[in-house]
């Protein structure tokens, strides 16, 4: 049952299980249903990349007793996407990406990018939940990312301020960024960096999502010519002194050099 009508929401308390695939947005309602109505939430990693998707499907299969079908499906899907995935990995070799989205979604996307062989050294997430709504470690999406795909060296938690984003991009100098919110891609554009705006948030979900994201990145990389042409001809609205600072968060720190001139 999808929660897309009022009558569905009314009936949701009578469901057997709740399953979500975004632990920023779905988990609050799911935890409420579990605590207040006794509807257990499926506790599994988000279905992004092979590791997450395999585990998510296996957990669903376990509680619904469909283990055999699930294993057959997993094997079939792995085999189905393998040829195109190999091609995409070849084409994306040496490409660096940057993810600037909500937290759990970013964790999922970084996993998918690394499945595609894209290097991800930086990410900006808009908040961080050290403890998820369920308080269950099986839904710790950041831990899942680090455990399966390794560390992200320049990982930033901050709201999406364009003036700070300049410094963040300088740290890793990516070939493209992934966004879902307004305000960051225009700056990247003026620096010659294309953005993949994922208007459809399900684009990168599951097995097919790995291929979808790869195709989108290839298209976006072609746009580089537009953004680099623009970058060569525009002036950013920020002062040189600000852009020269290495620390995007210098403004809120007492010991910064920005006040000296006016004083």
């Amino acid at each position: 049952m999808l929660l897309n009508t009022v009558s569905c929401v009314k009936l949701s308390g009578r469901s057997l299980r709740t399953v979500g695939f975004c632990y920023t947005l779905a988990s609050y309602l799911a935890a409420g249903l579990e605590q207040e109505f006794g509807v257990p939430e499926v506790k599994a990693p988000q279905p992004y990349g092979f590791a997450g998707t395999d585990a998510w499907i296996r957990e669903l299969a376990r509680i619904t007793h469909r283990e055999e079908q699930a294993e057959a499906y997993i094997a079939k899907e792995h085999a189905r996407i393998a040829p195109r995935l190999a091609e995409l990995r070849e084409k994306l070799k040496g490409i660096k990406g940057y993810v600037a989205t909500g937290s759990a979604y970013a964790h999922g996307l970084i996993g998918v990018l690394r499945e595609l062989g894209v290097e991800v050294n930086g990410s900006l997430v808009f908040h961080h939940d050290p403890i998820y709504d369920s308080h269950d470690p099986r839904q710790d999406s950041l831990a899942h990312l680090i455990d399966h795909y390794g560390d992200v060296s320049s990982f930033t938690v901050s709201n999406r301020q364009q003036y700070q984003f300049y410094g963040l991009l300088q740290r890793v100098n990516p070939d493209f960024i992934i966004i879902r919110h307004n305000g960051l891609a225009p700056l990247a554009s003026r620096l010659g960096i294309p953005a993949a705006p994922l208007g459809d948030e399900h684009h990168a979900l599951g097995y097919q999502g790995i291929l979808n994201l790869g195709e989108t990145i290839l298209e976006i990389l072609a746009h580089k010519k537009f953004h680099q042409d623009l970058a060569a001809h525009v002036k950013l609205p920020y002062k040189k002194e600000w852009l020269d600072l290495k620390d995007p968060f210098a403004l809120v720190k007492p010991e910064n050099t920005l006040d000296t001139e006016r004083a």
């Binding site: 966004i179 307004n182 960051l184 891609a185 225009p186 990247a188 554009s189 003026r190 294309p194 953005a195 705006p197 208007g199 459809d200 979808n212 195709e215 290839l218 298209e219 072609a222 746009h223 580089k224 010519k225 537009f226 953004h227 042409d229 623009l230 001809h233 525009v234």
Partner: protein
């Protein structure tokens, strides 16, 4: 099409089609349609010596259901015709033509008349030259071009008309040349739906760079006085993949005038600035003046591009990633160059449709092979819409529908592929075009508006 051989098999869902001598959904017209090249010159009126219906068909095709451009001062329904019938076929049409010219001189106010012949006259062998020369000897500004349909299409007819005006009206010249003056030979008037706006922009930017420009066709031409100045220009600029080359070569022989051939009509600041620098270099005029114009134009262009970039960088619902272009070589190459180099869209399929003479094709292919420093593509030459559409159907455009830059003939195909379509060439029957142009600095911004209004409008 009835006589096209089609084979299908299970392995290939698309039929394998063998080329025949038929053409479905035309993309060019008869050479007599070059009457539009005459009426495109202010003050010039064509006179046609052809069967009834020929001239009207050409006009309705090229100038009406193609951007609804209209006939202007001396085109369209103004054009006198001999309406040659059986009588002229059997006994010859010279006398009928003589009467028509005589009557036209009494009725029509023109600076120059251009007589164009159709298939009937050229087949029965009317001595049109001697009829016209009778009037020329009386000092009547009149020339003739024998443009029977079997001579070629309207592109070929265009160069016949320009040559007729040069040889029979402009005449010989051996005096000095004026430095910094250029004759421009570029888009085919009327056949290219946006020629008026485009020629205006080409003139504007060349003048901005410091040249004096004989644009020769369109509202910004000075008409026959400008044509009379052709021989005194420093050089000719052929701004198209091939059209105009014969004219320029003829002028080189006739007046000792050098020519500069630039195959890519520039769209967007990057290409346009590079274009201007090439022309300035060739002419040897003041570079500093040109650079200051380029800087000024780029400042304005990139301000608008910066505004556009928010949309281009973060429009949620996705934009087309691959494109196809179907159309005549001038726009086909110009658009492909712009889309690849300045928008970063991936070339899917390019098909050139005006049947360029064989000798120019390899040079055109070479342009596509080197479309960008790091992008190579290819191009097909095809005139039959049935085959063109099959070729596009068989193209892999990735996981999203392509955007097609084509003609009205591609409307149904775009629907079938669930893609977007921008009509950029003959026939563009779902565009009303007055002064709009797509080239240069300003035209590129208009083109961007057109492309993305079409794209986002599709979801309305």
């Amino acid at each position: 099409m009835a006589n096209t051989k089609i084979k299908t098999n299970k392995a290939n869902p698309f039929p394998i089609v063998q080329k025949t001598n038929s053409i479905q959904q035309i993309r060019y017209v008869c050479s007599i349609a070059a009457m539009h090249s005459a009426s495109a010159i202010p003050g010039v009126i064509p006179i046609t010596h052809c069967g009834p219906g020929c001239a009207d068909k050409q006009f309705m095709n090229v100038a009406f259901y193609n951007g609804f451009q209209g006939g202007g001062y001396g085109g369209g329904a103004v054009v006198p015709s001999t309406n040659a019938t059986e009588k002229e076929v059997v006994f010859g049409g010279a006398e009928r033509l003589r009467q028509l010219i005589d009557a036209s001189l009494k009725v029509l106010d023109a600076d120059l008349f251009v007589v164009l012949t159709g298939c009937i006259s050229d087949l029965v062998g009317d001595d049109v030259g001697s009829v016209v020369s009778e009037f020329q000897q009386q000092g009547v500004p009149i020339v003739f071009a024998e443009t029977g349909g079997f001579k070629g299409n309207n592109f070929i007819g265009h160069e016949m008309v320009t040559r007729a005006i040069i040889d029979q009206f402009v005449g010989d010249y051996s005096g000095p040349k004026e430095k910094g003056v250029v004759n421009v030979w570029s888009l085919l008037p009327y056949h290219n739906t946006f020629w008026r706006g485009d020629l205006r922009e080409i003139k504007r930017i060349l003048e901005g760079a410091g040249l004096k420009v004989n644009i020769l066709f369109g509202h910004d031409s000075q008409g026959v006085s400008e044509w009379r100045n052709i021989p005194t220009a420093q050089f000719n600029l052929v701004l198209s993949p091939w059209l105009g080359l014969q004219t320029a070569q003829h002028l080189e022989e006739k007046y000792g005038q050098p020519y500069l051939h630039i195959p890519v009509i520039p769209i967007g600041a990057k290409e346009t600035s590079a274009f201007l620098r090439k022309v300035v270099e060739f002419s040897g005029i003041d570079k500093a003046h040109a650079e200051s114009f380029i800087a000024q134009e780029e400042t304005s262009y990139y301000h608008y591009l910066e505004d556009f970039s928010d949309f281009y960088a973060e429009y949620w619902w996705g934009l087309p990633a691959q494109f196809a272009v179907v159309g005549d070589s001038a726009y086909n190459l110009a658009l492909t160059k712009f889309l690849v180099n300045q928008l970063g869209i991936i070339p899917g399929k390019q098909i050139i449709t005006e049947n360029p003479p064989e000798e120019y094709r390899e040079a055109i292919r070479e342009q596509y092979r080197n479309i960008a420093d790091d992008v190579s593509t290819d191009v097909e030459f095809e005139e039959d819409s049935y085959l063109i559409h099959q070729s596009i159907r068989q193209t892999k455009f990735g996981h999203k529908a392509p955007i097609i830059f084509g003609t009205t003939w591609e409307r149904d195909l775009a629907k079938e592929l669930k893609g977007a379509i921008v009509e950029v060439g003959f026939p563009a029957s779902y565009e009303v075009v007055i002064s709009r142009g797509y080239v240069g600095y300003r035209g590129a911004l208009t083109l961007l508006e057109k492309i993305y209004t079409t794209t986002v409008g599709a979801s309305a």
